[in-house]
Symmetry: D5
Subunit: 96 residues, 10 copies
């Protein structure tokens, strides 16, 4: 099932830059791995902001939480989750 997730990243300016870079590197690897698995179905940058809009395809809210809360930047993100379903005007049987 699909969940729409907005993530706004806010890394404190006094975080050690080496640690910050390492967090970002692992975050990127993890994001790409989840995309390849089909769990992180869409990943867009919001133009002009250190934010993304994503759509996750997971088994249930538990899996969504497990994926999102273990992202390296999770402690520095404000996250908003919106559950999605098929729109009755969609031309696709399966909205995924």
């Amino acid at each position: 099932m699909l969940f729409h997730v907005r993530m706004d990243v806010n890394i404190p300016h006094d975080l050690d830059p080496i640690r910050a870079d390492e967090l970002k590197r692992v975050e990127r690897e993890r994001a790409q791995e989840l995309q390849r698995q089909g769990k992180w179905r869409h990943l867009w940058r919001i133009a002009g902001q250190y934010s993304n809009i994503s759509v996750f395809d997971v088994a249930d809210p538990q899996e969504l939480h497990d994926l999102v809360s273990t992202l390296p930047l999770f402690p520095f993100m404000a996250i908003e989750v919106t559950p999605l379903c098929r729109h009755p005007s969609s031309i696709h049987e399966d909205e995924r």
Copy 2:
């Protein structure tokens, strides 16, 4: 280019039901036509709300406005537009 659009529909309770049904019927036809043209790339219902989250693929903000502002339910929708671009961690060359 891609624009993320959230539409919250609020039809006044004293609108003539026949007119409301006609507006919804034409809205649906228009939404499906735009999907078939590839302009209305994604269309999801927000679970539990008379709202959708959409992604439009248009030539520019002008085309986005022309498409959205001529929807039959436009006068009864609160609309929020967010420009998107490719995320640097995306595994796709072209995020569309």
Copy 3:
């Protein structure tokens, strides 16, 4: 899976009282039927407000939407949905 739902009811003062009463009567029947089916797991009144806080146990966001959007008072409710999962400090294996 569980979804936390808050519903704030706002019936327009110029709605026909007989229609309003009928809507409330059917809403009540539907709410009780869904409780008996185990879909509407919790239903509380917020003290001092024409609002409720509910927890639904459904198969997916689609079923949640189908249940909530067909409630008779749906057009007159502001609805907020929050997906839930098991808390790691819970003493129950299954949080439902």
Copy 4:
């Protein structure tokens, strides 16, 4: 009586990690003890957030305050309290 409580945890990034872990460990023990006593009736994780939604069953607002304000993470939580009562459409005599 029942109180709906939402807790959003925000641990400062420059808090000593050892102290943070100790706070979380004691918080967990305390939460489980209160669940076993029946005071902390429901405890759910909000999917995708370091937040929980809880329902407490206490004698009065004073007991609620005593329980919540002595949680180890209390200084790092934004807390919202909503008093609940039985919903007239509930199928249970006692909503607890």
Copy 5:
């Protein structure tokens, strides 16, 4: 126990004036009766607004809801409820 209640009144301009006056008259009688019973412990007007700040002394949230939701102006009020308890710096044993 004590609940702090703020009520903002907003009577629609197209409500029949005779009905509005009758609602206000009964509201006033009911408010005074509840004050005499000691249930409506404090009742202040917010200067410059059609609003009041009140403190109710009730047995539980259920009684609070029963009192507030049966006020004649209830359908036209935005209501905010805050549970209170004794402040540790109070000079009174019983804050009521």
Copy 6:
């Protein structure tokens, strides 16, 4: 005259604990002195929060400011002031 005051306390986690305790001790003494003088007429704890709701009885806004802005925790409080007056439905001649 009466002013309704809400104070939300937020002590920074990196404030020296000895200084914080001293501030709280003096705050408490000052609050009790003002209560005995009748200036700080009501003082309630908001259940579940490090906040209070108070009613001050002062000569004018200047006295209110002098009292509140010299509280030891003033630099760490968000404060909201609402002027009150007698409610026309009050059963008391003098609302104080």
Copy 7:
């Protein structure tokens, strides 16, 4: 004493125009009378809005309420009141 008051006027479009004009005429007379009495000390239009920012000089919050709540447009105004006092950096002994 001084109170800062912001008034945002919102006259419903379906109010009888003759009644609206009469309300505005009496409002204007009343505003000018209160200015001549020195009660309505300052009265500014906010540029670009049907709103004003005012400073009232009254005996207490009760007088402020009596003046403001009897303005003919009171039912159609959102009103925000802020109590003022002398600023310690003012060059005037009496800020009024």
Copy 8:
């Protein structure tokens, strides 16, 4: 001098359509006249919304108010005004 103005138009659905069209026609003529006079320096549509972002070049806030408050759609617009000045990093001597 320059003022940034955002206007959000919200025409009630029960306004007579002939009157609405006449208001829009006169609004358009007035907007074009003010553009030709150089008073309404910039006028953009916000993509996807019945809103505009404008920059006015006027003698003072009074002239801004006189221009904006006499627009035919003024009663149906939410308006936000922001005063502008030259940015120190601008490459132009005169930002207009």
Copy 9:
């Protein structure tokens, strides 16, 4: 011309106290100088808050910005600016 300005001061608790006192001393001198020049026409303290409400009388938005942005406490203030003009119900020809 007149601009209404609200300033909310928030000095970080870890700012060096000697520097903070020096900033406040110079701020006060500057505020008094601008009052004597007639530029800072009104200066009120908001009762109960480390905030002021001011009215500036300046040649244009540029002068307002130059005055406000060079105040020593500017980096620690949230500032809200509202342009004012004469109210049509004012009894004065010149509202200044």
Copy 10:
């Protein structure tokens, strides 16, 4: 195409002043270079605030993001982006 961008700058008070000055110097150079290239079409200071309102003329949201996210002060700015298009009442064929 045009994007309206508001940037609110908030430099932490404990950032090294030399680094802050260097960031501002490079920011200024970059802003002027982008203006000369015609990418940063308008740049205004908001009077009384450490904020600007800008209009960018770019090829697409990707270019907007690349320009804005590489500004030296980007980590210290809250940024709001609004896509613009030609207004139907504009007197210019090309609104740019």
